[in-house]
C-alpha cells in the first residue's frame, strides 16, 4: 500500500440471520486482514462451541460486558486496507435499537451495504435500512443479495429481487444503487468471484468498494468554513497574527477571494491560507487550515465564513428538521435543549412535532410522542440564528445534535430540511 490511497467509510445493514457477521469476517479474511492471533482466538472459540468450521462471525463478537449482560454496544469500528483503498467499517448490531445505531454509523459513511437473504427477498427491514440510508444521505448503496447458494445461484431469483428493490428505491432519494449476488459463506463475489456466479458480469463487493467514485461525496461548490478556534499567538513575530482555524466543510477557497462572515454579514478578502506545511494558494474540503483576512473584523468561534456567491446559506432562528431521537427519555416540548450545529451551540426548543415516520411502512403519524428510535419531523426555534444549508445539499452544515443540559447526554440527531 502506498500513501496515495483514499479512505472509504462504509457500514453494513442487516441482521445476523442475513449473514452480516459472516460477510464482514469473509471480507477481512479473504483480503488477508485477519491476524493469526485473532484467527487462533476465534478458532479456539469455534471449537469450544462444537462447530465444524471456523465461525468468521466471531471476529465481530463483543466485549465481556456484552456477553454477560446480553447487550450489544451500538457501533464498533473495524479497519482494513487493500493496495487501492483504506476502509473503515462501522459495524452495527441489528437489534431493537437498530434505528439509533444505524443512523449513528451511517452519519459518517460514504456507502452502505444492505444485506438481503436471497430466499426471503425484499423484507420490511430492507425497506427500513434503505429509508434510513436515504434519510442520512449515504451517497452509495450496495444491495448484497446473500445466500445465493441457498437458491441454487439462480439468476432469475436475483433479477426478481433486484427489480423489486429498484422499484422501491425509486421512491426514496437513493441515487447510486449497485446490486451484487453473493454467498458470504462460500466466499462467492465477496473478495474472490468464485465459480458459482458466472452469469454475473458486475464487480465483486471488494472490487466495487475499491472503485466507487467518492470524490464528489462532499459538496465541492459552495465554500463553507465554520470557525473553530481563533489563533492569536501574541508573541514575537506573530504579535499581530490573528488566524481563524477550522475545517473547510464544503467547496474551496483561494487567496484573494471575497468572503462573507455570517451571521454578521460583513465582507472581507482572504489574505493567507496558513498551514504548518506552508501557506497555500487554494484549499478545499475537507482540509483543516487557518485563514487570515485583510480586514480586522470581529469574528469568533461559531461564525461561518462563506464565499460571497450565488448560493448563500440561510441565517435563521427557525427551521424544520427531521430528527432521530436517541435518548431513553422522551422529547419534552415544554423544555429547552441545547443544539450543537457546526461550531455553534445555542439553546433551542421544539415549537412543533408534526409527524412521526414509521420506518417500516414510511407512513406518517401526526401528533406523536417522541421516544427512542423515533424519526420525526419537527419545527425548531433557536435562541440565536444558525448559519445552515439544507442537509440534502450539505451534510456538514445541515446536521446538528441535540443535548439535554441536565444530563449532558446527546438526545437527538437532526437533519435540516
Amino acid at each position: 500500500m502506498d500513501t496515495t490511497t483514499q479512505l472509504l467509510r462504509f457500514i453494513t445493514a442487516g441482521s445476523v440471520d442475513d449473514g452480516k457477521s459472516t460477510l464482514i469476517g469473509r471480507l477481512l479474511h479473504d483480503s488477508k486482514s485477519i491476524f493469526e492471533d485473532q484467527f487462533s482466538a476465534i478458532s479456539k472459540t469455534s471449537e469450544k462451541r462444537g462447530m465444524a468450521a471456523v465461525d468468521l462471525s466471531l471476529l465481530t463478537d463483543g466485549l465481556q460486558a456484552e456477553r454477560e449482560q446480553g447487550i450489544t454496544i451500538d457501533v464498533a469500528y473495524r479497519y482494513f486496507a487493500t493496495p487501492k483503498r483504506k476502509f473503515i467499517i462501522g459495524d452495527t448490531p441489528g437489534h431493537e435499537q437498530y434505528t439509533r445505531n444505524m443512523v449513528t454509523a451511517a452519519s459518517t459513511a460514504n456507502l452502505v451495504v444492505i444485506l438481503i437473504d436471497a430466499r426471503k427477498g425484499v423484507l420490511t427491514q430492507t425497506r427500513r435500512h434503505s429509508y434510513l440510508a436515504s434519510l442520512v444521505g449515504v451517497p452509495h448503496i450496495v444491495l448484497a443479495v446473500n445466500k445465493m447458494d441457498m437458491v441454487d445461484y439462480s439468476q432469475a431469483r436475483f433479477d426478481e429481487i433486484v427489480a423489486e428493490y429498484k422499484a422501491f428505491a425509486a421512491q426514496l432519494n437513493l441515487h447510486d444503487v449497485h446490486c451484487i449476488p453473493m454467498s458470504a459463506l462460500n466466499g462467492d463475489m465477496v473478495v474472490d468471484r468464485g465459480d458459482n456466479l458466472g452469469w454475473y458480469q458486475g464487480p465483486a463487493l471488494l472490487e466495487l468498494l475499491e472503485k466507487v467514485e467518492i470524490d464528489h461525496d462532499v459538496n465541492t461548490s459552495d465554500f463553507r468554513f465554520p470557525v473553530q478556534w481563533v489563533c492569536r499567538p501574541q508573541t514575537g513575530e506573530y504579535h499581530d497574527f490573528r488566524g481563524f482555524a477550522g475545517r473547510i466543510e464544503a467547496g474551496e477557497v483561494s487567496v484573494g477571494d471575497e468572503v462573507t462572515v455570517l451571521p454578521s454579514g460583513r465582507t472581507t478578502t482572504v489574505k493567507e491560507i496558513v498551514t504548518y506545511d506552508g501557506n497555500l494558494q487554494t484549499a478545499f474540503a475537507p482540509q483543516s487550515v487557518t485563514l487570515t483576512l485583510s480586514d480586522e473584523i470581529d469574528i469568533s468561534r461559531g461564525d461561518m465564513l462563506v464565499r460571497s456567491s450565488a448560493h448563500p446559506p440561510k441565517v435563521e432562528k427557525t427551521f424544520d428538521a427531521m430528527l432521530c431521537w436517541l435518548s431513553e427519555s422522551s422529547l419534552d416540548k415544554s423544555r429547552k435543549y441545547l443544539i450543537k450545529h457546526t461550531t455553534r451551540t445555542a439553546k433551542c426548543l421544539f415549537s412543533s412535532v408534526d409527524y412521526r415516520v414509521d420506518v417500516n411502512t414510511l407512513e406518517q403519524h401526526v401528533n406523536p410522542t417522541v421516544s427512542m428510535n423515533d424519526i420525526v419531523r419537527v419545527a425548531i426555534k433557536v435562541q440565536q440564528p444558525l448559519v445552515f444549508d439544507s442537509y440534502e445539499i450539505d451534510r456538514a452544515t445541515g446536521s446538528f445534535i441535540v443535548i439535554d443540559e441536565a444530563t449532558n447526554n446527546t438526545v437527538a440527531a437532526g437533519m435540516i430540511r
Binding site: A65, Y79, T104, T220, Y276
Partner: protein, 308 residues
C-alpha cells in the same frame, strides 16, 4: 446525496490527509470547548504523531494545553530521552507525574517493585487529573489496537472515578462532538481513533518524525517466555534455566519495560518497517503486550477502572 454542481477540479486527498484533517479538527474542538484540557504524551510513537497533529492544529500559537506524562518509572531510557527532547524542542510545557509518588503517598500499594505497573497507571492519572482540574485528556489510543477500544467513542465520557461505561456511551454522529461534562467529571479524547498501525508508520515516514531508536531493529539480549521475547533489563533477569540470547529485534509498542516485548526484525528504516507491517500476521498488542494476554477482557477491565 444531491450535489448542486460538480466541480471539475480534481484534488488529491489521501487517506493520511483525511485522517490528519479529522484529528486536527478533533483537537481544535477540545481546545475550543474544554476549559482545561491536557495532552497525554509518553514519548511513544502514537503520542509523537499526536504532537505533530497538535503542531498542525495550533501553530503559529503555542499549544493551548500542557503535555502530561504518567510515568511508571519502568521506562526504556531511549523513550524518556525522546520525550524530554521533543517537549523541549517544541517549547511546550511538560508535566510529569510518577507512580512512585502515588506509591509514597500510599494510594498505590505494590507487592514487588519489578511487577508490571500498567494496572496502576490509572491511579496516578486520576490523581493528576484532580491535581490540575483537567476536564479533558487527549490520548493516542487507536481503535485497531484492541476490541474494547474498537467500541469506544472518540470523546469518551468518564465519571468522577474515571470509569468507562461501555453500555452508556453518548451517540457520536457526523463529527459533531458533545464535549460537555459536569464539574468533577471528565472526558478522554482519542483524536487518532481511526488510525491503524500502518497509518502511524506511513505518517512517521511522511512527516519524518523523530522516534525513539528502539522502534528500529537493533541487537538486544532477550529470553523466550511463552512465545514472546522478553528483554533483559535491571528489572527483568533470567530465571534459572532460561537462556539469554542476542537477537535482532524492534519494538512495535513501548510501555512498561517489564511487560513490553519486542519482535524479531531486521527493519532499520521506516520504509522497512512499513514493509514488515504490511506482511505481519500478528496484531500489535498480540505480539508485544504480556499484560493483555492474561484474559480475553484485560483491556476492557482496565478501562473500566479509569485507564485510558
Amino acid at each position: 446525496m444531491k450535489l448542486v454542481e460538480k466541480n471539475m477540479t480534481k484534488h488529491t486527498f489521501t487517506h493520511l490527509d483525511a485522517l490528519e484533517s479529522e484529528s486536527i479538527h478533533i483537537m481544535r474542538e477540545v481546545a475550543a470547548e474544554c476549559k482545561n484540557p491536557a495532552l497525554l504524551f509518553s514519548g511513544g510513537k502514537d503520542s509523537i504523531v499526536m504532537l505533530r497533529i497538535a503542531e498542525k492544529a495550533f501553530r503559529p500559537a503555542k499549544f493551548p494545553f500542557p503535555l502530561v506524562h504518567i510515568d511508571t518509572e519502568h521506562n526504556f531510557p531511549e523513550v524518556i530521552a525522546t520525550r524530554d527532547k521533543l517537549a523541549n524542542d517544541l517549547g511546550e510545557r511538560l508535566i510529569v507525574r510518577s507512580l512512585e509518588d502515588s506509591i509514597k503517598r500510599g494510594s498505590i500499594v505494590i507487592k514487588d517493585a519489578s511487577l508490571p505497573r500498567n494496572p496502576f497507571q490509572s491511579v496516578t492519572l486520576l490523581e493528576t487529573i484532580a491535581e490540575f482540574g483537567f476536564d479533558a485528556c487527549m490520548g493516542g489510543a487507536r481503535r485497531d489496537e484492541e476490541k474494547a477500544r474498537a467500541k469506544e467513542r472518540i470523546f469518551s465520557f468518564r465519571d468522577e472515578f474515571g470509569q468507562w461505561d461501555p453500555k452508556n456511551q453518548r451517540p457520536e454522529l457526523w463529527d459533531t462532538y458533545n464535549t460537555r461534562v459536569h464539574a468533577g467529571e471528565n472526558i478522554r479524547v482519542f483524536p487518532i481513533s481511526n488510525w491503524t498501525e500502518m497509518d502511524i508508520w506511513q505518517y512517521i515516514g511522511r512527516e519524518q518524525l523523530h522516534i525513539p531508536s528502539i522502534y528500529y531493529a537493533h541487537e538486544r539480549e532477550v529470553i523466550r517466555r511463552g512465545g514472546l521475547l522478553v528483554p533483559i533489563s535491571d528489572l527483568v533477569q533470567p530465571k534459572p534455566g532460561e537462556k539469554v540470547e542476542v537477537v535482532s529485534v524492534r519494538f512495535r509498542t513501548v510501555g512498561d519495560v517489564t511487560c513490553t516485548a519486542p519482535v524479531e526484525s531486521t527493519a532499520r528504516t521506516v520504509e522497512e518497517i512499513i514493509e514488515e507491517t504490511a506482511t505481519t500476521r500478528i496484531t500489535e498488542r498480540g505480539a508485544t503486550r504480556m499484560d493483555d494476554q492474561t484474559s480475553d477482557a484485560s483491556m476492557e477491565l482496565r478501562k473500566k477502572e479509569g485507564y485510558f
